[in-house]
C-alpha cells in the first residue's frame, strides 16, 4: 500500500540551526535579542498551557542534530514503510504568535531555507511544507512566491492560531499566491499564544489535556470562514488542509452550516454551492489524533457522514506524545488505500506517482 504521512515533524535540538539563514538586523535580534527560553529557543509568544510531559515521545532522544533524522528513519519511516513523509517542522509555525511581522517573516524564511538545505536532501521520501507567518499576508505571499515553485514543497503551512478566521479577505493575498504556485494551504494545531486570539472561545481553560481536547474550536471557525467568505469561489482549485484538529466534529459543523446557509444565503451571495459541497471539493482533514470511542462503529458512522474515505489524509504526528501508530490505526479497512495514500496524491500534486517512487 502506498503510504503518505501528512504530518511528520522534523525537529531540531536548537533553533540556532537557523543562524546561518538569517542576516542583518534579524540575525542580530536572533542572537542578542530577548527570546522565550534559553539560548537556542525559537522566539515566539507562548500559550498559557504547559504540556506536563513535553511534546515528544520519550523513546525519541536525539543527542546531536543529525540524530533527529536517524531516529525518525529508524523508528518511523522504515518500520512503517512510509513512502512519502510531509515535513511539518515544529516550532517555526509559532512565528505566527509574534507581534513584529517582519521578524516573524524573517524567521520562517530562515526555516524554509534551512529545510531545503538540511532536511529535504536527507531522504527522497521527504516533501516539505513552506511555513508562513500569516500576520502580514503580503509578506507571506512574497515568501510563497519566493520558494513556492520548489519541486519538493508540498504545501503552504500556517498555524491554526491566528489573528482572524482565515477566510477573512485580509488573508486573501496568501491564497492568491498559493493559487499562483499551485500549492494547498494547510493549517496545523499551534500558534495559540502571543498575538493570536485565544483558541478557547469563552476564556483560557486551566489544564493542558482539558485544553488540548477542545483546541479544534479555532479550526471550526476557519472552516466556516473559508467557506463563507467565498475563498473556494475565488480559487476553486485551492485545497485547504486542516492538520491535527480532530475529525469527528466535522459532520456536525457541516450540518449546521448547510442549515443556516439555506435560510440566510443572502448574506453571502457569492456562494454557489452548499457549505458541505465546498468542503467535499476543497477541504481535507488529517486523521491524527483520530478520536477513539469505545464503540468504533460510532466513529465510522461519523466518518462516513463526512465522506471520510475521500476527505481524510493519514497523518502520524511523529514524534509527538499523541502519535497515531499506523499498525493499529482504527479506520475501516476498505478505506485505507485511499486515506493512507491515494487521497494525498489528489491534494499534493508534486508527490511523485507511486509507480515512479517504487521504481526509484
Amino acid at each position: 500500500m502506498f503510504i503518505v504521512d501528512c504530518d511528520c515533524h522534523n525537529y531540531w535540538l536548537s533553533a540556532k540551526v537557523l543562524e546561518p539563514y538569517l542576516s542583518g538586523v534579524w540575525k542580530d535580534m536572533f542572537i542578542h535579542g530577548e527570546r522565550t527560553g534559553p539560548e537556542g529557543a525559537f522566539p515566539h509568544g507562548h500559550r498559557p498551557w504547559f504540556h506536563p510531559h513535553g511534546f515528544s515521545r520519550k523513546d525519541v532522544r536525539p543527542v546531536s542534530e543529525d540524530d533527529n533524522y536517524t531516529i525518525m528513519k529508524e523508528k518511523h519511516l522504515d518500520p512503517n514503510k512510509i513512502d512519502v513523509a510531509i515535513l511539518t517542522g515544529d516550532e517555526p509555525m509559532e512565528a505566527s504568535t509574534l507581534a513584529n511581522p517582519h521578524y516573524a517573516n524573517a524567521l520562517v524564511s530562515a526555516y524554509n531555507d534551512y529545510q531545503i538545505d538540511y532536511w529535504l536532501p536527507k531522504d527522497s521520501r521527504f516533501m516539505g511544507s513552506l511555513v508562513i507567518a500569516p500576520q502580514d499576508p503580503n509578506l507571506a505571499a512574497k515568501e510563497i512566491r519566493r520558494l513556492g515553485h520548489h519541486p519538493r514543497m508540498a504545501q503552504i503551512l500556517a498555524s491554526q492560531g491566528s489573528q482572524r478566521p482565515y477566510g477573512d479577505p485580509f488573508y486573501h493575498p496568501i491564497y492568491e499566491a498559493c493559487a499562483e504556485v499551485g500549492l494547498p494551504f494547510a493549517i496545523h494545531l499551534g500558534g495559540h499564544g502571543g498575538l493570536n486570539w485565544n483558541a478557547i472561545a469563552p476564556a483560557p481553560t486551566t489544564f493542558f489535556w482539558e485544553t488540548h481536547a477542545i483546541l479544534h474550536m479555532a479550526a471550526m471557525s476557519h472552516v466556516a470562514s473559508m467557506i463563507a467568505h467565498g475563498v473556494f469561489e475565488k480559487w476553486p482549485n485551492l485545497f485547504f488542509v486542516v492538520i491535527e484538529c480532530g475529525v469527528a466534529w466535522v459532520p456536525s459543523v457541516l450540518w449546521r452550516l448547510d442549515q443556516d446557509y439555506k435560510a440566510l444565503r443572502k448574506e453571502t451571495p457569492w456562494l454557489k454551492m452548499l457549505p458541505s459541497e465546498y468542503f467535499r471539493r476543497n477541504i481535507r482533514f488529517s486523521t491524527q489524533p483520530l478520536e477513539r470511542p469505545d464503540n468504533l462503529q460510532h466513529l465510522w458512522s461519523i466518518l462516513e457522514a463526512m465522506d471520510g474515505e475521500n476527505t481524510l489524509l493519514f497523518a502520524s504526528d511523529y514524534p509527538h506524545w499523541d502519535y497515531d501508530d499506523l499498525k493499529s490505526l482504527h479506520l475501516p479497512p476498505d478505506w485505507k488505500p485511499k486515506i493512507l495514500g491515494q487521497n494525498a496524491l489528489e491534494v499534493y500534486k508534486r508527490i511523485p506517482a507511486p509507480a515512479k517512487t517504487r521504481a526509484a
Binding site: G230, Y261, K262, L264, E267, P269, W270, L274
Partner: protein
C-alpha cells in the same frame, strides 16, 4: 385537474403586500410583481410553514469588488419561519432549485384574478 377560480380584483393585490385566499380549502398567496400577479401555495416545502406570510422582498448579489448589492426587489418571498428564499414566479428555492414551492397559473381578465388550482 386544475379548476379556474375567481379570487379577487387585481387592484386589491399590491406589490410587497401579498394576500392570502382560500381556494377549496387550499391557502394560496397572491403576489404582485410589477404588472403581473402570481399565486403560490401557502405551504413551505421545507417544514410546512405558512410560506406566503413571510415578507415579499428582494435578495442579494455581488459586484466585482465583492460588494453586496440588493436586487430583484419584490421577486422573492422569504418564508415566515426559517427564512428560506423562493422565487415567486417559479417557486424555486434560491439555494437549491430542486426544492420548489408549489405555484399555480394565474390569469387576469377584465381586472379579475383567476387562479388555476
Amino acid at each position: 385537474m386544475a379548476e379556474k377560480t375567481l379570487v379577487c380584483r387585481a387592484d386589491e393585490i399590491a406589490a410587497g403586500a401579498p394576500r392570502i385566499v382560500k381556494i377549496r380549502g387550499l391557502a394560496v398567496g397572491l403576489f404582485r410583481i410589477g404588472n403581473s400577479i402570481h399565486a403560490m401555495l401557502n405551504v413551505c416545502p421545507h417544514r410546512g410553514a405558512p410560506l406566503c406570510e413571510g415578507p415579499q422582498c428582494g435578495t442579494t448579489t455581488f459586484d466585482d469588488a465583492g460588494g453586496i448589492i440588493h436586487h430583484r426587489d419584490n421577486e422573492i418571498v422569504r418564508c415566515a419561519w426559517h427564512g428560506w428564499e423562493f422565487d415567486i414566479a417559479t417557486g424555486k428555492s434560491l439555494v437549491d432549485p430542486k426544492v420548489s414551492a408549489r405555484v399555480f397559473p394565474v390569469t387576469v381578465d377584465s381586472g379579475n384574478v383567476y387562479v388555476h388550482a
